[in-house]
């Protein structure tokens, strides 16, 4: 598809960092507020799709190589499954939350009931949110990019 006019391109490049920060905030606070890996990843992928619509699919495909997207997606998925298998390795069962109660990272156990939210809690869950968020961002953006590039009209000049 072709790009849009100069006004749209300027406004898009101003607004895109805010959308990205908002999406990353949703991913990072998944264990405290509504949200998590998939929801935040979908927001960031919508921001990237906005860039694709404003600048055109040919320009975007020239800037991003397809095999980088594939490698990033594999890294996100491998991190998720390795975190699950590490629960098996640290003694007990598959998918066990082995970081709760220890002092490596994310280890504080809050008291029961209504408290002030603390980001340093809940063990393995924020790490899994990051892995799923990376995979969803790259996956959804890759789908939209390849569909737009594959169905571009060849008679534009």
């Amino acid at each position: 598809m072709n790009g849009m006019s100069r006004i749209v391109k300027t406004i898009t490049s101003i607004v895109f960092p805010f959308i990205m920060i908002f999406g990353l905030y949703i991913i990072a606070h998944g264990h405290l507020t509504p949200g998590g890996g998939f929801q935040g990843g979908a927001v960031v992928a919508s921001g990237c799709a906005m860039i694709l619509v404003a600048y055109g699919s040919v320009w975007t495909m020239g800037k991003i190589k397809e095999k980088n997207l594939s490698i990033l997606e594999s890294i996100g998925a491998i991190c998720f499954i390795i975190l699950a298998i590490l629960g098996l390795g640290f003694g007990t069962v598959f998918f066990k939350n082995f970081l709760v109660g220890s002092n490596i990272i994310f280890g504080i156990v809050p008291s029961f009931g209504s408290t002030i939210s603390n980001i340093n809690t809940a063990g393995v869950i924020p790490l899994m949110n990051f892995a799923v968020g990376l995979k969803v961002i790259v996956g959804l953006f890759g789908i939209v990019l390849i569909m737009a590039y594959a169905s571009r009209r060849r008679d534009n000049k």
Binding site: I71, F94, N97
Partner: protein, 523 residues
């Protein structure tokens, strides 16, 4: 504890996790070399097959394995996801792993000249993880998630030859019907959850009463899972999908279809087992009638086909009718103790033994069809002829598959079909007559195919046709040798593998007692 005990204790999770890890690592491994990627995939599947055999040896001796994700002990009320492996699940897992291993060995040289092969192997491993998850799980929503993973991965594999338009259209038809069936399953699971506040199969099985909403949920579940398994009148996707996919993909699809069939039996026997004496014969007779219609229509449509793989797909539909007939007879007599002991358990043994026989026979025939396509690039029966001169080993494998699928001794089809004939005759003679008639018509169909493809005068355009490469012959040889061994020693197989599976399906209270130790009542 030593390594083997460690593997055995964590085996239900490892059987699903190792193909998943392999699927995510394959795009990175395939940057190195093509041979390294093929060897990596075969090693992952060999490790998974050995863990499946280790688990099956322990489960057939009588223990049911439960595995809880994320915690060590089981406290009521159940909030975590459980995997529960009894003898029927282990039986289906053995079938799945044999079909996957044979398919990957076969596709070493069958699919070699295409591009995009790293995506092919990633999808095969993802399909493996989905299939094993469907067979081993003990939680209804987890079953739905793995059902969707399996159908998405198999749809992408059916459309693998995208340069021809027909394969893509078959894949679109498959994904529409499959997605509709999965949405009906989700609706039924939501109905059951809304009434009993539980998603676990054992907890639902102990708390279920046969109210009006439960009847709606049972009808939706059986209809949707039968739609995925290819029962007439919902079989429209099966000939297109099996016929236009690559042959190494079709044999894995046979395994995925049997996994949906396993879902029907798990719902009918374990989930609704406690209420089966409230409506004793209606659901069993419906399954028997569906089996009869499937057999008749499958064989009749196979008579008029002229495309090789489409014909084998219609005979696969007919074979699934046999399985429904055998197990439906057992379900009809479930509430009546005395008649069940005489007739019902024989019928169920025949039905369950026929699951593994059907997968092996239909799989071997599809591999032969793929080998003929690889050598001659033709799929229509009218244009082939006289191939027995050039492809000797393929002809022998086709004869073995032909004898096995029609139920002729000494192949394995004879043993399971004899059990089905004997037991259904005592229930109602018409059922056995229809079954024998469709077996004879299958024999007629395949003798016609054998004559038109392999016998006859040599055609001039097939002068340079050579035998297929050795890896494809090795894969077909594995299946043929298992068929002959099962045919020569059927009571070894029935006593050690089939009987524990039948007992596991019937004794649903054992299944429930693993999770709720105080459950009383039952068969």
């Amino acid at each position: 504890m030593n390594f083997v005990d460690f593997l055995l204790q964590h085996s239900p999770a490892l059987i699903v996790a190792i193909p998943l890890l392999g699927a995510f690592l394959t795009p990175l491994v395939s940057r190195i070399n093509n041979k390294v990627r093929n060897i990596f995939v075969i090693i992952i599947l060999l490790i998974t097959t050995s863990i499946v055999l280790l688990l099956a040896l322990d489960v057939f001796a009588g223990n049911i394995h439960t595995y809880i994700f994320g915690s060590k002990d089981l406290t009521l009320p159940i909030v975590r996801i459980l995997f529960e492996v009894d003898a029927m699940s282990a039986f289906m897992a053995i079938i799945g792993s044999i079909l996957l291993l044979v398919s990957v060995i076969y596709s070493w040289s069958f699919i070699e000249e295409n591009s995009g092969l790293d995506k092919y192997y990633t999808l095969v491993l993802l399909l493996a993880a989905g299939m094993f998850g469907m067979m081993l799980t003990g939680d209804m929503f987890n079953f739905f998630v793995f059902l969707e993973i399996t159908s998405i991965a198999s749809c992408a594999l059916i459309a693998f030859w995208t340069n021809k338009g027909k394969a893509v259209e078959a894949a679109f038809k498959y994904i529409v019907i499959s997605s509709l069936a999965a949405l009906f399953v989700l609706f039924a699971i939501a109905l059951l959850y809304g009434q009993y506040n539980a998603l676990n199969i054992a907890v639902l099985g102990s708390a279920i009463q046969f109210s009006y909403l439960d009847k709606i949920a049972l009808v939706l579940l059986v209809a949707a899972l039968a739609m995925k398994a290819g029962i007439v009148p919902m079989h429209m996707w099966l000939p297109d999908a099996y016929g236009r996919a690559p042959a190494s993909v079709t044999i894995i699809l046979v395994g995925a279809t049997q996994a949906s069939l396993y879902g029907v039996f798990r719902v009918c026997f374990t989930l609704y087992g406690n209420t089966i004496n409230l409506s004793p014969t209606s659901i069993g007779w419906i399954i028997v009638l569906l089996g009869l219609i499937t057999m008749l229509i499958g064989v009749s449509m196979a008579l008029i086909q002229s495309d090789f793989k489409r014909l084998i797909a219609f005979s696969a539909v007919a074979e699934i009718g046999f399985i429904f007939l055998g197990i439906g007879t057992g379900l009809t007599l479930f509430a009546n103790n005395q008649m069940f002991g005489l007739i019902g358990s024989t019928a169920m043994s025949g039905g369950i033994f026929h699951i593994i026989n059907d997968s092996l026979d239909v799989g071997l025939l599809f591999l032969v069809a793929g080998a003929v396509y690889y050598a001659t690039k033709e799929t229509s029966l009218d244009k082939m002829g006289g191939l027995a001169r050039n492809m000797k080993y393929t002809t022998i494998f086709f004869i073995i598959g032909l004898l096995a699928i029609s139920g002729i001794p000494p192949m394995n089809g004879f043993a399971s079909k004899l059990l089905i004939y004997e037991s259904t005759f005592q229930l109602n003679p018409i059922l056995a007559i229809v079954a024998i008639l469709s077996s004879i018509m299958l024999l007629a169909v395949f003798v016609k195919v054998f004559h038109s493809v392999f016998l006859g005068p040599a055609q001039p355009k097939f002068k340079d046709v050579k035998e297929v490469p050795k890896t494809m012959l090795f894969a077909m040889g594995i299946l043929a040798s298992i068929i002959i061994i099962f045919g020569l020693f059927p009571d070894l197989v029935i006593n050690n593998i089939v009987e524990p599976a039948v007992n596991a399906l019937i004794n649903y209270s054992e299944y429930i007692r693993q999770v709720i130790p105080t459950f009383t009542g039952g068969f």
